[in-house]
C-alpha cells in the first residue's frame, strides 16, 4: 500500500486561482467572469495581469452564464465563476439552453461546493449540483481533490472543447497529489491498489478515503482506492476493472447520494457487473451551520464512515 503524506494544506479554490493565472499567461482566449466574489474565487492574480479579459457581472448569475455563452461566439474560452449554489441551481435553465443545448464552450467554475463552506449554512451548501450538471447532455463534470489537482484540472478544461462544470471548495485540505501533474479528463486515478473492496472517491473525500484505507489495513483489509475526479464522462473501464477484482464497492462524495457519483457507479454496476455498493454521501437532507469538520462528521462524510461502509460492503459480498 502506497503511503501518502502531506506537508502543506491549501484550499482547492486557490488551485483554481493558480490555474487561471497560468492560463492567463499562456492562452490569450481565456477570459473570466465573476458575480461579485473575486476574492472567494481567488481570481485576483488573473485580473491583475489581464484586466481586459475579466468581466465583473455584479450579483447577476443568470446574466453571467449567458454572457459567457455569447463570449464563445468569437472564440473566447470563458470561465464563469461564483459559488456552486449560484452557479448551478440558480441558473439551471440558463446553463441548459444557452450553454449545454447550444453546445457552447463555457467553463462553469464554482467554489464553496458541498457542506465544507461551513458556517454560512444550508442556503449556500449545495449538495445537488453534480446531479443537475451531469444530467445535461454533453456536460463534463469534474470535482478535483486537492490544490494541485484543481490547478491541473483548470488548465486541462481550457483545452477541452465543450461545456464543463468544475467544482471545488473553500476549506484548506492536504496537498497529496503531484505538482504539475498531467490531468486527463475522464481518466480515473488509482490512488492505491487493493483486492478486498473498491473505494471510489471524489473531491474532498479522496483524502478521507486514503485515511480510511490505512484504518482498513490495520484490520487486515486491502482496499483499492480510486479517485474519480471526472464524474462525467465516468471512467467505466476503471470502475469495472476494480470491482471485477474486489467484488464490492463504496462511493464517497460531498453531495447528495441521490444523483451523485455513487449513482453513476451504480448504473455501471447494474448494467455490467452486479456487486454490492455502499454510499458515503448526504442522505436526502440539507446541511446546516457549523465548522467544516463538525459538518463532515455529523453528516457521515469522513474516513470513519468510509471504513464502516467498506466493512458493510465486504460483509454483503461474503454473505
Amino acid at each position: 500500500m502506497k503511503k501518502y503524506t502531506f506537508t502543506e494544506k491549501k484550499d482547492t479554490r486557490s488551485g483554481f486561482g493558480a490555474g487561471m493565472q497560468a492560463l492567463g499567461q499562456t492562452n490569450p482566449n481565456v477570459v473570466a467572469l465573476c458575480a461579485d466574489l473575486i476574492g472567494s474565487l481567488k481570481l485576483d492574480a488573473f485580473i491583475k495581469e489581464n484586466p481586459e479579459r475579466f468581466f465583473q457581472t455584479g450579483i447577476a448569475e443568470a446574466n453571467m452564464i449567458c454572457i459567457a455563452a455569447g463570449l464563445t461566439i468569437g472564440g473566447k474560452i470563458p470561465f464563469a465563476t461564483t459559488f456552486a449554489n449560484f452557479g448551478t441551481g440558480r441558473v439551471y435553465d440558463q446553463i441548459r439552453q444557452s450553454v449545454a443545448y447550444s453546445d457552447k464552450n463555457v467553463k462553469i467554475a464554482c467554489s464553496h461546493a458541498g457542506l465544507t463552506l461551513g458556517e454560512d449554512g444550508a442556503t449556500h451548501q449545495i449538495l445537488e449540483d453534480i446531479g443537475m450538471m451531469k444530467m445535461l447532455p454533453g456536460m463534463t463534470v469534474i470535482n478535483p481533490c486537492d490544490y494541485n489537482q484543481t490547478k491541473a484540472a483548470t488548465i486541462a478544461v481550457a483545452e477541452h472543447v465543450g461545456p464543463v462544470y468544475l467544482r471545488f471548495g473553500r476549506p484548506v485540505v492536504p496537498i497529496f497529489t503531484a505538482p504539475d501533474q498531467e490531468f486527463i479528463i475522464g481518466k480515473a486515478w488509482t490512488v492505491n491498489e487493493g483486492k478486498d473492496v473498491s473505494i471510489f472517491a471524489t473531491g474532498h473525500l479522496v483524502w478521507e478515503a486514503i485515511l480510511a484505507g490505512e484504518i482498513l489495513a490495520e484490520k487486515g483489509i486491502d482496499a483499492e482506492i480510486i479517485n474519480i475526479h471526472t464524474i462525467k464522462p465516468l471512467d467505466e473501464e476503471a470502475v469495472l476493472a476494480s470491482v471485477r477484482k474486489t467484488g464490492c464497492a463504496v462511493s464517497a462524495e460531498e453531495h447528495q447520494i441521490a444523483g451523485g457519483l455513487g449513482d453513476s457507479i451504480a448504473q455501471v454496476l447494474i448494467k455490467k457487473h452486479l456487486a454490492p455498493l455502499e454510499y458515503v454521501g448526504v442522505e436526502d437532507s440539507f446541511g446546516e451551520s457549523g465548522t467544516p469538520a463538525q459538518l463532515m462528521e455529523k453528516y457521515g462524510l469522513n474516513a470513519a464512515s468510509i471504513v464502516e461502509k467498506a466493512l458493510k460492503a465486504i460483509a454483503r459480498k461474503n454473505s
Binding site: A62, L71, Y101, S102
Partner: protein
C-alpha cells in the same frame, strides 16, 4: 436596396410564415408577422454579412468581421427561418420541414441541428440580450468593429434576467450592441398592460444609461432609417435600445389587433384568406 423591393421581400416572408405555421398546425404567427419588416430590413439591407460569389451566405459560428443577430424571443422562429432562407443561409424548400420530426427547423431556434444562421438556442425567455452582450464584448476583444443586434419581446421584459443585462451593458459601455424590443403590447394571456404592466420601458432603459431610439416596425422606410441611425450612434460609449412599435399579425388583417394569434395556426380557409393579402414576390417554397 429600394424600400419597395424590401417591402416585396417582406410580403414573401409573411407568406412563408403563415404557410409554415399552417403546414404543421402549430407555431407563433402573430409576433412573426409583426417583426417581418425588421428582420428583412436587417438581413437584406442593414447588416454587414458575408456572402459567397453565388449570392448564398457564408456561415461560421464565430462571425468575425460581420454583424450578428440574436433572436431572444425564439417563439417567432417562423420569421427568422424565412429570412435566413430567403437571404441565402439555406434552401427555402427546407421551410417545409418546420416543427416536423427530424427537422433542423425546430419549434424554437437551436444550434443543435447545425442550421446555418443560428448561433444560440432561444425560447426560454430573457436570455438573448445577455448572449448578445457577450458576443459584443468578444468583438471588442477581437478588435472587430461590426455590430451585434438582438430582438426581444415586450412581454419578455417581465423576465428578471433582462434587467440584469440592462444594468450590465451601459456599465461596461457595450456600445456595439443594438437591442430592439418588439413593442406590440400583447403577450399570451392578453395585453401587456393587463398581464404585467411594463409602463414606460424607454424611461427605464434610459435610467440605466441606454441610448433610446424609436421605430415604427411596420414602416420599412422607418425601419431602415432608424437602424442606420443606430449604427451611426454606435461607438459612443452607450448601448442602443430601439423601442419598435409593431402590430401583432401585421399584414394579415384578421390576425391584427389582438393577442389571439400569438400561438394559433390558421386553418385552410384562413390560410387562403391570409395569402390573398400577401403578394408572392420571390416564389413560394
Amino acid at each position: 436596396m429600394q424600400i419597395t423591393e424590401l417591402q416585396g421581400i417582406a410580403s414573401q416572408v409573411r407568406r412563408d410564415i403563415v404557410r409554415q405555421v399552417h403546414a404543421c398546425q402549430s407555431g407563433h404567427p402573430g409576433g412573426s408577422l409583426g417583426c417581418a419588416d425588421l428582420l428583412v430590413g436587417l438581413y437584406f439591407d442593414q447588416m454587414k454579412l458575408k456572402s459567397n460569389p453565388d449570392g448564398t451566405k457564408v456561415f461560421d459560428m464565430d462571425g468575425i468581421g460581420e454583424d450578428l443577430f440574436f433572436l431572444s424571443n425564439g417563439h417567432i422562429s417562423p420569421v427568422f427561418y424565412s429570412v435566413l432562407a430567403r437571404s441565402g443561409y439555406f434552401a427555402a424548400s427546407e421551410l417545409a420541414t418546420f416543427r416536423k420530426l427530424n427537422s433542423r427547423l425546430q419549434g424554437h431556434p437551436t444550434t443543435h441541428e447545425h442550421l446555418e444562421g443560428i448561433r444560440i438556442a432561444s425560447g426560454s425567455l430573457g436570455q438573448g440580450m445577455s448572449v448578445a452582450i457577450g458576443a459584443a464584448q468578444a468583438k471588442k476583444l477581437n478588435g472587430d468593429d461590426s455590430l451585434v443586434f438582438v430582438l426581444m419581446g415586450d412581454g419578455e421584459q417581465n423576465e428578471g434576467q433582462v434587467w440584469e443585462a440592462a444594468m450590465y451593458a451601459p456599465h461596461h459601455k457595450v456600445d456595439n450592441l443594438v437591442a430592439v424590443i418588439d413593442y406590440n403590447g400583447q403577450q399570451i394571456d392578453g395585453p401587456t398592460d393587463k398581464v404585467m404592466n411594463n409602463r414606460d420601458l424607454g424611461a427605464k432603459y434610459a435610467a440605466f444609461g441606454w441610448n433610446i431610439m424609436k421605430m415604427n416596425g411596420n414602416d420599412m422606410a422607418d425601419v431602415v432609417k432608424v437602424l442606420a441611425e443606430a449604427r451611426e450612434f454606435s461607438g459612443n460609449g452607450q448601448p442602443t435600445m430601439i423601442l419598435m412599435t409593431t402590430e401583432m399579425g401585421a399584414g394579415v388583417d384578421f390576425m391584427m389587433g389582438s393577442h389571439k394569434w400569438h400561438g394559433v395556426a390558421p386553418n385552410d380557409e384562413q390560410l387562403a384568406a391570409a395569402l390573398a393579402q400577401l403578394p408572392e414576390t420571390l416564389g413560394d417554397y
